[in-house]
Symmetry: C2
Subunit: 131 residues, 2 copies
DNA sequence: ATAAAGGTTCCAGTGACTGGAAGCTCAAGC
DNA sequence: GCTTGAGCTTCCAGTCACTGGAACCTTTAT
């Protein structure tokens, strides 16, 4: 398979796949013309990577997870630990965004949004929030 | 005020303040010794920036908001539009993170996390998810 | 013969800082 | 006066995970 084929099947842009090779996540063979030649196992790995990235795992987490995936002596506890750590990170981000959301939606509701300059949003940002 | 003083009062690292000057968000005067010399208005702007950034506004949004803040002919509708756009972005991120969270926590719960290699998390990532 | 599509490498840019090196200035203590 | 340390300066490089683009090569179809 050429890069375009794997790209389509794995649902990843060719650029991303080249980047993954550059950082050592996949190591496709090369044809005599210099083109990358992907095997089923490469496609499999790339699909794995696409899914893991879609769940928000960092590239380094993906590297770890791929390593565990290919290691039959792994313990599921190792995988679970990585996933739980990431889950905690997601929860932290959600909490942070919800706090922003709360403040901001409050301010947006308080703002008339008309042609006059008075604006509770700017007042809050400027620290004059007498709310 | 020297940079360390404003940094402390605005709650921003000196590095960040220098960066904000570099991209034109603040323009402190200079003392004869070459040190940046901040006025109250600069401190005020930096505090504004710190709050806006804490609400997740991008630097470009901050630039726009600062501009509106200093423009007495502004219409509050302009401010509200920026804020609403950002609020929508926050909501999109929250939704995305919650979807990740749902999938991931489901997988984490399904994983025994023991010394054996069987792992629903890896199975799902590898596309063998027969769930 | 040519043109389009797809492949290759390499370099630069993204956002918003952050770390570190090399060097200058200032205030305090001896 | 001299030294020490803190704080200031600039500049360069790195972060993360790509993404865009240039310049060039290969394959396939017309």
């Amino acid at each position: 398979m050429n890069i375009g084929d794997v790209a389509e099947r794995a649902g990843l842009p060719p650029k991303t796949i080249r980047y993954y090779e550059e950082i050592g996540l996949v190591r496709p063979l090369r044809s005599t013309n210099g083109y990358r030649s992907f095997q089923e196992s490469d496609l499999h790995k790339l699909t794995f990577l696409g899914r893991a990235r879609a769940l928000g795992f960092s590239i380094e987490d993906c590297r770890t997870l791929l390593g565990l995936y290919e290691d039959d002596t792994r313990e599921s506890a190792q995988v679970k630990a990585v996933a739980e750590e990431h889950l905690g990170e997601i929860d932290r981000k959600i909490t942070e965004l919800q706090a922003m959301r709360a403040t901001l939606s409050h301010l947006v509701n308080a703002c008339h949004g008309d042609e006059r300059p008075d604006c509770p949003i700017l007042e809050d940002l400027s620290g004059l929030g007498a709310d």
